[in-house]
């Protein structure tokens, strides 16, 4: 039993878990965020199909969390040699390091992706009444993203400095 436990929670697997979590959680955040904006956008498009370009901009805003998660995963996979090398054996502590390094973008990406989606969706509602307010709608959504940026910055710093 202890042996199986040890095999499952090997350093290598912990690092993979970190990479997986970064993509999964940040991806969920973005998926939910984009979903919120896109449904709101369909409402606007039913009235005014020419607003599609503006909608795309707002829909793309909450996409970034997923991308940050993806990059973090790639960096981990690169560091532990899954991409572009041979997978290396890792001590449990080393693997745990990568897992922890992935947590900032995983957790903040999940939360901020959803919340940014909500802000951007309300931005779409703003556009239905004030078609020229794209700038304000975008800036509002960008404020939420700040924290995802900080999170991915910390995650990347932790991984790159290793």
């Amino acid at each position: 039993m202890a042996e199986i436990f040890k095999q499952i929670f090997s350093g290598f697997n912990l690092a993979i878990l970190g990479a997986a979590l970064a993509t999964i959680l940040a991806g969920i955040g973005s998926a939910k965020g984009v979903y919120l904006v896109a449904t709101a956008a369909s409402g606007l498009l039913s009235e005014n199909p020419s607003a599609f370009g503006k909608c795309i901009v707002l829909e793309a805003l909450p996409m970034t969390q997923g991308i940050y998660g993806l990059i973090t995963s790639f960096m981990i996979l690169f560091k532990i040699g899954v991409i572009g090398g041979s997978p290396m054996a890792l001590e449990t502590a080393d693997g745990a390091y990568f897992l922890l390094a992935a947590l900032p973008i995983a957790i903040v990406g999940l939360y901020s992706g959803i919340k940014q989606g909500k802000v951007a969706a309300s931005g779409v509602v703003l556009l239905t009444k004030q078609p020229n307010e794209l700038g304000h709608a975008m800036t509002n959504a960008a404020l939420v993203e700040t924290y995802a940026i900080f999170a991915v910055l910390v995650s990347l710093l932790l991984i790159l400095f290793r």
Partner: protein
Amino acid sequence: MAILEMRKLTVFAIRSQVNDMVKRMMRFRCVQINQTSPDEFKSLQARLFLCEEERLRLEKEIEKINTVLPVLRKKSGKKRKLFAGRKPMDFDKFLQSPDCEKARSSVEEASSIIKRQAEISAENAKNESTVKSLGPWEKFDLPLSLPESRDVVSFLGSIPVQSSSFEVMESAMAEAGVYLEKINEGDNHYYVFVMAHRSCTEAMNALLSQYGFVRMQFSEEEELVVDRVRKLGLENDSLRSEAESLEKRFVELAENVDLIEYLYDSDETLRLALVQQYKMLSTPYCCIMTGWVPKKEENSISRLLDQYECAYEFEDPEPDEVPPVMLSNNPFSRNFETVIGMYDYPHYGSFDPTAIMSIFYFLIFGLMFADVGYGLILILAGFLGPRLLKPREGTKRFLNMFGYCGISCVVMGILFGGWFGNLPYSVMENLFRVEKPAGVIPFFNGVVFNPTENILGFMLVSLGMGLIHMCAGMAIKFRNIWKSGHPFAAIFDVGSWWVIFAGLILLFVVKPMAVGGIVAGVGAAMLIFSQGRNAKGIVMKFLKGVMSLYGIVSYMSDLLSYSRILALGLVAGVIGQVINLITMMGKSVVGFIVMLLVLVIGHLLNLAINVLGTFVHTSRLQYIEFFNKFYEDGGVKFEPAVPSEKFTVTPLEPAPARVAQQSKS
């Protein structure tokens, strides 16, 4: 680099000339016509100037063009080319030219054709459904509208097949003295003809309802079914051929689609001119117009107005009036005015930061997206796009802004080593098996350093950029306070912070840390000494002064916000590297082709997502971190009366010949 000074224009013009005057004014694009309030000219008993009939007529015309135009465009086979651009057109000349008549009659004809086509297809459908309903009765050799008779009743109708076999029904009916004839069978129904003497009606009705008979009436069918169906067929054929010839004519008319687009813009311009006139007041013979004109356009507008019998006057705005804001900047900075417009226009009379902001926008955009390859694409799109598309002035400037930002990306890309991520190294390493290519040709690794290798270095560059950016914002605040007549307030409110910043930097740079500490202390003392100056009592003054030191928190958080330059720069670079890494995995010939595709699409995607991200976050750094230091928003954008330019471009000023002609008459 300024907010243009505005002058208030008041014109008293002859009513019959107003329309022409407004149309000419629209060409100048520098008069914003205001809603004139009747209260302002109470003594004249002026009313709103209404021209309802003309407006309704134009709206009907435009409506007609709007329904016809997309159909014609589709039929013309001349797809609107992506790079066609808009053609120059003078609406006055066009409206008097034979082309205009041609366009108008085409619209007339096309819209009647569309109407007729709808009628034809409705008629066709109706005929076809009639033929279908007559179908089962084709073998019946009497007119379907059965004649009335004194002694005999007769019906046509259907009986469901499942109620009973026909023979059984027939014999049962015959017993009751009723004649039943099967005309046709189909769709699970017998189509039957029933005839009986009036005396048998009751028995017949009972039987028929037992079988589930449904009566069908064809009171209008007085001919034999065969003849009728043939006639309907002929009618349909002739309708169809009419539709075909209409369609042919329609395609011919579609040749004029360009002219009809001209007509749209001309009519819409006339309508807009009327809309402008709705804002004016009128007395029986005279119209009163008020509006704003930029001071530098005063001369050209007076020259225009001199050609009409009107009295006019330019005045400086009253203190309680808020003129609209029009920005005027050098050819580089004016491309960045959109960024200001997306936030909010600066208050009239305040400082226009476009020029200073444009420099920082240029630099920060480049730092965030430091890549030669992506930068070149941006330059191409930003400068070539407007040439090909010939868009409106605002769109052109917006695209040009990205073109300039592209230049910055290229320069920063050379400095910090971004070439589509790390494409040169990736190719050398994976295709040509060069070991450690960064050591072989260090140029591609960045002339200064590569952020992925020296993250802290790039963090310092980002924050340094931020510090300069913030200080520039504070410098504008310094200027604003100084100009408002409070030089000491400027020195203590803004200058003290600069002293503190200098001290904090010295703390890290100069060896005995005491030097920095003393400088920062002096700054802090300046704040404590000055910031409580409006409070009452020495204790409150001191406390308020100390409290002001808390401002350091907001400056720190602003400064750290600039770390997004590093983060977004890393993200763009790393995604590029990952794309390169993945594509270089293909080894065979097929793999090579797939690899090229993945490479191109991947980099384009990366470009798209990062241009958006960089644009949004560079703007945000201006709005939140830069503008909050000094910006006075709440300006109302200057919206001059302009001609409609959906498909065409109206020349900026009327042709000289027309001016001469106009002044003669």
